[in-house]
Symmetry: C2
Subunit: 209 residues, 2 copies
DNA sequence: GTTGGAGTTGACCATACGGTCAGGAAAAGA
DNA sequence: TCTTTTCCTGACCGTATGGTCAACTCCAAC
């Protein structure tokens, strides 16, 4: 019937299984860490025999690398929300929104990323030194421009970025702690309140309101 | 010579070795996570044969539990700095100072704690539900008091606490990322700048200046 | 419908891991 | 000095892990 799918049957299978495995891997790596995760458990979560994982990914490390790389892409994509903003209220506001949304939608990815960095970034050190460094320098300059324009108070742009990362990612990485204190997962309304609180405190904190 | 040490010789040895092992364990758990850490590596770092670890600690999990418990104590101790303050500037300012100092002096401990929580707090869930929950409720009430007194803007106290934790612990947990972006470890002066930046942004963010 | 390569998988392997233990060394008490 | 208790450790064990492989099925192209 759907001739659009017909010729890509093989690719389809491959793509579907790779996605399935990556999804399971993200979850297991987030829950157990790289060292604590086992290929067997990832296979079970994915619903595939272990040997099949090794057909698509040559090693545990390569699988892990792909998972981390995927997260970094999401992270970078959200970072674009800061651009083309007339000022800090819109730019940083949008960035906080985007990053809070990631914490909500991809908590496992966030945890894997956090874990990777905490352990000294053994597999993504090069990303940190190139892409992330460039991105950070660019946004720091952008923020400095807003300061020079008098659109916000003079704060150290680097430390502002660290605070943005910390405050937003905390809702994913420490989600379990928050849920425990909250007596359950955050509701839709509580998520909005979290977002608003973070935005209000930071925007007021940089004198942009 | 030192008769003060003489009668406690046995205890001395025990205490010293336990401390040595706990110190090594904290480092290794921080670097590799629970699953990635091995008793052999901890033993090597401590400079003791592996079998000796099992003389002092019956299992890897018990050793880990002790490490996490130690960190929680430090954490709780710092938490006291918020009490007996006349207002948010002093109370929250002191708390930020204390927590930033922990991030600087005990980065490994902070990482182990973060890792534990990220993995669902398998061994310290009871702490979260009792001690931490009580502490949080108490400080939230304290903050609410300051709000009612008009000493700061009305913000959600819980989310303020989350931001405090996030912003300060970030300098330990993501220290590797910060060091990479910074081109090396933070200097004494940079640490002061970090502390001042966090304090300035948050205190202004809650309208307490 | 036959052929070639992609996809699949149970069985298997070498290794590394947490943990044990017997027996010796060192310290404390008598 | 002799005895008892604590401390120490090399050698060892069962298990679980990451990874391999040969045999198989399924799909697409001719």
């Amino acid at each position: 019937m759907s001739e659009a799918l017909r010729p890509a049957r093989r690719n389809e299978i491959r793509q579907q299984n790779e996605a399935l495995i990556l999804q399971a891997a993200e979850k297991v790596f987030a829950e157990a860490g790289f060292g604590g995760a086992t290929m067997q458990l990832i296979a079970d979560v994915a619903g595939l025999p272990k040997a099949n994982l090794h057909y698509y990914f040559t090693s545990k490390e390569e699988l892990y690398r792909k998972v981390v790389s995927n997260i970094f892409d999401i992270w970078l994509h959200a970072a674009e929300s800061m651009d083309n903003a007339p000022g800090p209220v819109e730019g940083i506001g949008a960035y906080i929104d985007a990053k809070m949304e990631i914490s909500r939608r991809h908590p496992d990815g966030s945890k894997v990323w956090a874990s990777e960095v905490m352990h000294g970034a053994p597999v993504i050190q090069d990303y940190l030194e190139t892409t992330l460094r460039d991105w950070t320098a660019g946004r720091a300059a952008l923020i400095q421009g807003w300061i020079d324009d008098g659109q916000m108070v003079a704060v150290n742009p680097d430390h502002l970025l660290y605070m943005l990362w910390a405050a937003t990612q905390h809702y994913a990485d420490f989600g379990h702690q928050i849920e425990t204190l909250n007596g359950g997962p955050l509701t839709e309304l509580q998520w909005r309140e979290a977002k608003d609180s973070v935005k209000a405190m930071i925007l007021r904190g940089i004198g942009a309101v």
